[in-house]
Symmetry: C3
Subunit: 268 residues, 3 copies
């Protein structure tokens, strides 16, 4: 045949997650830098729609997507209000993948899986001149390309022992027995994602709780179709977190609630 089997070729994956949008050419510039250094990189867009400068949103988005990638992938993420200032750039190797970006908490969900972490100080792995406002193009993109080309993590710069972690709000057990939780994300469909997740389910039975939010009391259902179109429900979403949803509608609109709003979980 002379044809190569697809299965024998191993592409090196670099994913991109930014708050750049795609109307400005910044993402394109990063892709060009990567492909100039690593022509066979498979560049995968995760998102360029992180809310502008919202590091917490970026961290949550990465937590949703990254664990499903091969551990050999390199994930470049740029939500970087501190660019050009004192904040470090880092490369973080974990059992779930390798991350490259600013040390501002963006990689919080992965710090527990940390294997190694270095600061990006080796100028030989950057693009020059390094702009003070666009490390995505001049530092993070070339570092990721070098990594998939086989450049050693330890060669990028000195070890970092204290990468920055975001404070994550956790549900609190109150004296009256309720678990006081909160909404931590609103998705495109208007689903309200809470901070009641896998850790809490170890002690809670979804089938034996009531969820009180925005003045309504809800049972937990298995899927949207368990209630009538337009009805509100609670369910355990695909990330394992308690969510409030409206079947074929938007819970955010229905309840007028957003990130930070209180959700009460009561045993029945």
């Amino acid at each position: 045949m002379g044809l190569l089997s697809v299965g024998k070729i191993k592409m090196a994956i670099i994913t991109l997650t930014t708050d750049f949008g795609t109307a400005d050419g910044y993402v394109g510039a990063m892709k060009g830098v990567i492909l100039s250094l690593a022509p066979n990189a498979a560049i995968i867009d995760i998102s360029h729609d992180v809310l502008p400068q919202d590091v917490r949103h970026g961290a949550r988005l990465l937590a949703t997507a990254v664990p499903h990638f091969p551990a050999g992938a390199v994930h470049v993420a740029v939500v970087d209000p501190g660019v050009g200032g004192a904040r470090r750039g880092i490369a973080l190797r974990t059992s779930l993948g390798t991350f490259v970006g600013p040390d501002n908490g963006l990689f919080t969900p992965f710090l527990r899986a940390r294997v190694a972490c270095v600061a990006l100080t080796n100028p030989a792995t950057h693009r020059h001149p390094v702009s003070a406002t666009f490390h995505g193009r001049d530092v993070f993109a070339p570092v990721a390309a070098h990594l998939i080309n086989g450049f050693p993590l330890a060669g990028l710069g000195p070890a970092v022992d204290d990468p920055i972690a975001l404070f994550e709000p956790v549900p609190i057990r109150l004296p009256d027995g309720q678990l006081r939780a909160e909404i931590v994300h609103v998705d495109r469909f208007g689903n309200l994602v809470t901070n009641v997740g896998p850790l809490e389910w170890a002690e809670l039975d979804p089938d034996a709780i009531r969820v009180v939010v925005g003045g309504v009391s809800l049972a937990v259902h298995r899927f949207y179709g368990a209630v009538a179109p337009g009805a509100i429900l609670a369910l355990v979403g695909s990330s394992g977190h308690l969510e409030i949803a409206v079947r074929e509608g938007s819970a955010a609109e229905r309840l007028g609630l957003g990130v930070g709003a209180t959700v009460e979980v009561w045993g029945v």
Copy 2:
């Protein structure tokens, strides 16, 4: 040289079409699942901007894009308000390509080209645990990866003889001689796409009709530049359908019309 010729390597194409947007990480999760199972998949984004839960919009979008892909491509599409309930997941093989997604009419434009169709019931081809709200990640993405890895369609589950088809509004010939059509899509430019298409042109000469819509009567032109900037015109669009457009402007805004509005076609 030692270099491989590009032309000899055959990548396996998986396209993605969803209503997920890219601000939530859901699309990224699907890409990760695919690449974990099929590291050499060439993942091609068709759209993640299907209107939320608008199956008809998704079907129309697929009809615009898919026929231009190689027939060997696998097209994953997720517009899935019924996820987790009774609706089936299907893999549909057609002469135009293979489709994987919910059986809710999303693949209506391709049912006439059907070669085989199966329900996705083989748990060995899914990701576990299967979330009740995210079959895109846990069923459709892994099934697509298995297909491009050579897993046989028939192994995914039992044959389906009655995949769901959406009702498509067709133009009606009224006693007064007019063809009563309607607007079925508004594109980004504000062009109003009607349901007068290739079937109707078999009996109609675009050069010999008048189009009456929103109180104006229009001749059919060949391209936007045939009228002055800002002028309204009718033309046969790139999908072969009658469209109403404004040169360098938006017909939707000009006429205040959208999907479902009536368009009259009269012989001259």
Copy 3:
């Protein structure tokens, strides 16, 4: 091992830049046409969010992204209000890459790097029938695929000696000593990008100027973090142009200014 080294496989890059958005399937259709003709093309999205029919915006976006790509890449760009009319389609080879799209000024930033330019008149390199409204699918996409397949540029059509260039506003030195500049782009973060760029810096020291815009007078700082959160500043952005920004905010909102607004640069 039997595994192929990644480094030895050379993918052929085609980038896409359009004003199509991704809600209509037009971009998907172009990708399908490319992959049908060149199955191993690495298709890279630069942007589909060019403002509708805004050729100047498209040119600026290309100028931001393209110079970072390998020179062997083929860049398809479609912002094409004149499609189907008298405007030519062109393929433009430059030292920075090869461009395929309408001859309407979209490639202005690259004309100075021109090596060759031809009109796209060879029907054997187009998809048929050629729609009068979608040359992106029927002319530009197939031409790009043929180019990366090795088809010679000269075979696409006759040489073009006068590709269209957009007028680019340049800063003007007024008798009172000020450099009268203007805002030429507003990015996603609300940064106001001016037309004071590398040419002007040859005669100006950023550290020795004041920037007067919207009634405020600003010094030039090196990066956002040099001022307090919420403060307004001037800086030299990543493209080398003078920008007005608000740290962790939007200068466009703060000042109520957009493209075309006047910026005064004064020596100190």
